[in-house]
Amino acid sequence: AQSVTQLDSQVPVFEEAPVELRCNYSSSVSVYLFWYVQYPNQGLQLLLKYLSGSTLVESINGFEAEFNKSQTSFHLRKPSVHISDTAEYFCAVSDRNSGNTPLVFGKGTRLSVIA
């Protein structure tokens, strides 16, 4: 079964600094990959996803993630963070070839942006 490891449970970073949130998944089979974000007191929202094609995917608010098959990673990056990026970020994976498999989530990384 798939598993997702988010290596950092908490990441504090100063405003306008770059950030990387790490995500590794367990299997080398073909996968779909996702990052979800949960702002304080809100539900989970899709931030970006990798389905196929270009290994670099971007969100509308400046985040990007790169699918690295050899390292089974899908790290999330932003070159300059804002206070409003403070939230919990979840990496998730589903098997591409296993029919209607549910998403498997990591434990989350809490990003705290400091003014």
Partner: protein
């Protein structure tokens, strides 16, 4: 409605009692998922409906947990003989297609269940 709606937002119950948690998915979404999120953890899959039928219930922890979706829209998650370990946020999500084709899933804000 505009999004996935879950009621109640908070539920406190005594150990041993029965509870029902409701999920109203986005209109027209055929796929519906229940997840459970314990403190400090990511969402953990419970059950997936495609239409009225449970396509995958492998995540239900034991037979005290049951879910229905009789008309293919609203779903109810039922927990019998609640235990303190059932305390968590229960999340519902819906999508227009099954995740096997990787459509986006939309999550509700969850029901926070506390068993005392």
């Amino acid at each position: 409605g505009a999004g996935v709606s879950q009621t109640p937002s908070n539920k406190v119950t005594e150990k041993g009692k029965y509870v029902e948690l409701r999920c109203d998915p986005i209109s027209g979404h055929t796929a519906l998922y229940w997840y459970r999120q314990s403190l400090g953890q990511g969402p953990e899959f419970l059950i997936y409906f495609q239409g009225t039928g449970a396509a995958d219930d492998s995540g239900l922890p034991n037979d005290r947990f049951f879910a229905v979706r009789p008309e293919g829209s609203v779903s109810t998650l039922k927990i019998q003989r609640t235990e303190r370990g059932d305390s968590a946020v229960y999340l519902c999500a819906s999508s227009p297609q099954p995740w096997g084709v990787a459509s986006e899933a939309f999550f509700g804000q969850g029901t926070r269940l506390t068993v005392v």
